[in-house]
Symmetry: C2
C-alpha cells in the first residue's frame, strides 16, 4: 500500500473542482478520482447546454411579437433543429474544455475510475487501495428514471442524452415540471416541437406560493398543455410512446424524463464509515462544514442532496477544500437562498419560501406585470412578483415570482435579503424610468402601505423617503 | 384680485404632478397652471415613446443573430416604419392618457396658460393675477436647437416631432451623442435608416471613464458611423441637408437635433424674485429642499437644470410639494446617483463618476463581457463594466459600464452603493449560474484581489466568504 495522502477528492464536477482549487493551495499530496466523463455536469449536460438551447428557442419565439411591433415576414422564418443542436454542442464543448484544463495538467494525480470507500480514511479505485487523512466526496447526481421506463430505449431521453441528439421528433412528452422540466419543455415547444407536459403534484418549478404557481402554470399553458396531479405511466407502442396520466392519454415520439436527480452514492461504500445512514443511504452532512458526522470526510455538491445548484455546489466544494486541509474545522455561514428557473417569464424563489413563513407574522406585497409600463413597451407584460416581509419590522424575508427579467430582480432581492434590509430601506433605491424594477417598487409600496407608518420628521431626519407612482 | 391660495404649481409635467400629489393631501386651496400640451414630457415625447421605438428596433435587429442560432429566413423579414410609428403613438397615447387623468378631474383648479411671476407670491396667467403663500415652478425643459438650424423646417427633427412622423427618410443625421442621441441613433439605425452621428466632444452618453467610453463608441460604430470632436454645421440644399463636422461632409434627408434640453425659464419672471440669477438666468435652488434662496418658491424637475431625469424630477416634485405645504422646511437626503442610456448594450453610470474620484484613493475592477458564459449563450457578449472602490476600506463608490443587462445590474449596484457596502459584502451575494451578474462578480473579484486580504478565521467568523470562478 502506498503513502498516506493529505486529501482524496472523489468526483471532478463543479464541487470537486472547487474543492481541488482550495486543496492545491495548501498541499500537493492529493489525488482526484473521477468516474465516467471528465468535465462538469453544469458544462456537459446541465446549466450551459440548456441555456444554449433556451436562447435559440427564445430568439425564435420572439417572432410572435413581430407583427405588433411592425415587423413583417415572421411566418417565413424557419428553425432548423439539427443546426440548433449543433450550435449547442459546439459552444458546450468549449465550456467543457475550460473545465477540463485544471485536471488535465494534474498528470497521475487525476485518476479515472470508480472509487469505493473501505473506511473513513481508505478507498479503493481500479483495484488499488489509497489512504488519505481527509476524503472529499463530490460524486454528483444522475437523472432519475423509473426502472420500468428503461425499456423505451432511444425513445426515452434525459438531459444526459438530449443535447446529443442529431435532431428531435415532432411529438415529445416532458415528465416532471421542476426547473429542468420547465426549461426544456418550454424551449422544445418554442423550437416548434409539439410538447405535452406532466407533473404529478400541483406545484411546479419549486414554487410554494399558490398564486405565483398558478400564474406560472397559466403562462406556460399558453404555449403547451400541462397535465397536473397524476403520475405519468408510459407504454411503448410500435409507432411511439403512449403517456397515461389520470384520464389523459397522449401519443408521443419520445419522452424526456425530468423527474429530478439522485445522488451518485450507490456502491460508494458509505456503509463502511460506521455512521448511521438515512433511508436513502445518505450519511449526516453538516451544511456549514460539509463534514460527515465527526469523520475526516466531507461531502459536497449534488452528492449530498442538500441544495443541488451550481453556486451551492461550488460553495460546498470550497468549504470542503478548506476543511480538508485546515488544522481545525471552519464553520461557514451559507448564502441567502436563491433559485432561478430560466423560463420566460423567469421563475424565481429568493430567501424564505412562502410555505416556510408564519402567515400571522408576515405581510405580502405583490405586483402584476400585465400593466407595467416598460414590460408593455417590450411586449413582455406578464407575470407576478410576490414579496414577503416581517410584519413587525418591515424586513424583507423572501420572494416568489414569475416575472420578466426575474433573474435580474432575484439578485437585487437576494442582496436586500442578505443585508437584512427593510422595505423602506429598499425604497430609497433610485428606480430608473422606465424599467421593470419599477414593478418591484410597486410590490414594495404594496408592503409599505401595510406597515405601521413613520411620520414626516422621521422621513426627513433619516433621509429615507419614497416617491409615489407617477405612471 | 382673488383670494390668496396656499399653493400655485406652475407646470403639470412629472415634477408638477408629483408636487400636486403631495399638495392635495394637505390643502384644496391650490391651482396648477400648464402652458401648452398637458401630459408629461416623459409620456408624450420622452422616456416612453423612445422606449417603444427602441423595443421595435431591437426586436428587428435581433435577426442578425438568427443564422448563428439555427434560425433561417431572417433576410425575408421586413420592417414597416409607418407601422412602427403608429404603434409608438398608440401606446404613447395610452401612457399620456394616464398622466392626464389627475389634472382632468381638477376642473377650474387646472389652468391652461403661460404663467409669469410678478413677485415671490404673485403671478399672472391669461391676464389674471394670482397670489399664493407658496409657488412651485416645474416648467420643464425643451430641446436645444441652434437658431440657425430653424431654417431647416421639416428637415429638422427633435424628440418633440420625431414620434409624430408618419414615416422616416432613408438618411438621417443625429447630432449629439448624449442619452437621447445615442438611444435614437441606434434605434433609427436598427430600423433600417442610414444614420450618421455627430458629437462635438469625446465623451458620449454621460460617460467619464475613458475606457468605458471608447468601448461604448466602438460598439455603436459597428452599427453606424460616429463623427467625434467637431461641432456639426448644417447647410440646406435642394435635395437634403449637408452636415459638416471638421473635414467630414455628409448628405442626409433630415437631422435629429439631440443637443440636450434647456429649462423653460424664459419669460417666467424669475428676475422679479429679487435674487441673483446665474448667467443662464437660473436662481439658486437648494437640492435638498428645492427652495429658491429663502423664498416661499420651489423649483423642481428639468426646470432647475440639476438632474433632468424622470425619477429625480418626481423626487423634486415630492420635496417641493411637501415643503410648499409644511409649516417648517424639511430637508431631504437625495438618492444615489443613477443614469441609464437604453442602448444595446446599455450604458450606465452609478454612484460616483470616474472623473470625480481621487485616483490615488480609488481601486478599479473590471470585466469584459466578450468571454462571459451566459452572454455568449445569448449572443450578447460585448461590453465592459468598471467598478470603483475606496482603496482603504473596500467600499463600492461607483461604476460606469456599457454592458448587456446593464440596466438591471445598475440597480443592483445602486443598492450596494446606497447601503455603503464593501466589495466583500457584495461578494456574499448568491450569484446564480449562468447569469450576466457573474460578470459583475468577476469585476468585484478583480477589486477584491487588490484589497488588503483578510485571514481565514475572519472568513469563518464573519461568514463572509466568496467562491472562486468556475467558468
Amino acid at each position: 500500500m502506498s503513502e498516506t495522502l493529505d486529501v482524496i477528492i472523489v468526483g471532478a464536477g463543479s464541487a470537486g473542482l472547487s474543492a481541488l482549487r482550495q486543496v492545491r493551495k495548501r498541499t500537493q499530496r492529493f489525488v482526484i478520482i473521477n468516474d465516467g466523463h471528465w468535465g462538469t455536469v453544469c458544462a456537459r449536460v446541465g446549466c450551459m447546454p440548456s441555456k444554449l438551447l433556451i436562447e435559440a428557442a427564445n430568439a425564435f419565439h420572439r417572432r410572435s411579437t413581430f407583427e405588433e411591433f411592425g415587423i413583417h415576414g415572421a411566418d417565413r422564418l424557419t428553425l432548423n433543429i439539427p443546426d440548433v443542436l449543433r450550435r449547442v454542442r459546439r459552444l458546450r464543448d468549449d465550456f467543457v474544455a475550460s473545465t477540463l484544463k485544471t485536471t488535465e495538467e494534474l498528470g497521475e494525480r487525476a485518476i479515472s475510475g470508480h472509487a469505493r470507500l473501505l473506511a473513513p480514511d481508505r478507498l479503493t479505485v481500479n483495484g488499488q487501495e489509497l489512504r488519505a487523512r481527509n476524503i472529499i466526496i463530490a460524486t454528483g447526481a444522475h437523472p432519475v428514471v423509473p426502472s420500468s421506463w428503461q425499456k423505451l430505449e432511444e425513445r426515452l431521453l434525459t438531459t444526459d442524452t438530449l443535447f446529443e441528439q442529431e435532431t428531435l421528433p415532432s411529438r415529445m412528452a416532458v415528465v416532471g415540471m421542476g426547473s429542468i422540466g420547465i426549461e426544456m419543455a418550454q424551449a422544445l415547444s418554442r423550437l416548434g416541437i409539439n410538447v405535452v407536459a406532466f407533473n404529478s403534484n400541483q406545484a411546479v418549478a419549486g414554487l410554494t406560493d399558490p398564486q405565483v404557481n398558478s400564474i406560472a402554470i397559466e403562462q406556460l399553458e399558453h404555449e403547451f398543455p400541462i397535465h397536473i396531479g397524476n403520475e405519468a405511466d408510459l407504454e411503448i407502442l410500435h409507432d411511439g410512446v403512449q403517456v397515461y396520466a389520470g384520464s389523459t392519454k397522449v401519443m408521443v415520439d419520445c419522452v424526456l424524463a425530468a423527474l429530478g436527480r439522485r445522488p451518485n452514492i450507490e456502491n460508494l461504500g458509505l456503509e463502511t464509515l460506521g455512521v448511521s445512514l438515512d433511508k436513502h443511504g445518505m450519511p449526516p452532512v453538516n451544511p456549514n462544514t460539509m463534514q460527515i458526522a465527526d469523520l475526516p470526510i466531507f461531502m459536497a455538491g449534488d452528492a449530498n442532496d442538500q441544495t443541488p445548484l451550481l453556486h451551492e455546489a461550488a460553495d460546498e466544494g470550497y468549504i470542503s477544500g478548506i476543511n480538508a486541509t485546515h488544522a481545525s474545522l471552519v464553520c461557514f455561514k451559507r448564502r441567502t437562498s436563491l433559485a432561478i428557473v430560466f423560463s420566460d417569464p423567469d421563475i424565481s424563489v429568493v430567501g424564505c419560501r412562502f410555505q416556510d413563513l408564519d402567515s400571522e407574522k408576515t405581510l405580502t406585497g405583490e405586483v402584476h406585470f400585465d400593466r407595467q409600463g416598460r414590460a408593455r413597451a417590450g411586449q413582455r407584460n406578464k407575470g407576478i412578483m410576490r414579496l414577503y416581509a416581517d410584519a413587525e419590522n418591515g424586513r424583507l424575508l423572501g420572494a416568489e415570482m414569475c416575472a420578466p427579467a426575474g433573474e435580474h430582480m432575484a439578485h437585487l432581492l437576494a442582496l436586500a435579503i442578505d443585508r437584512s434590509l427593510t422595505v423602506q430601506d429598499i425604497l430609497r433605491l433610485p428606480f430608473y424610468h422606465p424599467v421593470l424594477e419599477e414593478g418591484f417598487r410597486t410590490a414594495l409600496r404594496d408592503l409599505a402601505a401595510q406597515l405601521p407608518t413613520g411620520n414626516e420628521s422621521d422621513l426627513a431626519t433619516c433621509g429615507a423617503f419614497d416617491i409615489e407612482a407617477l405612471d
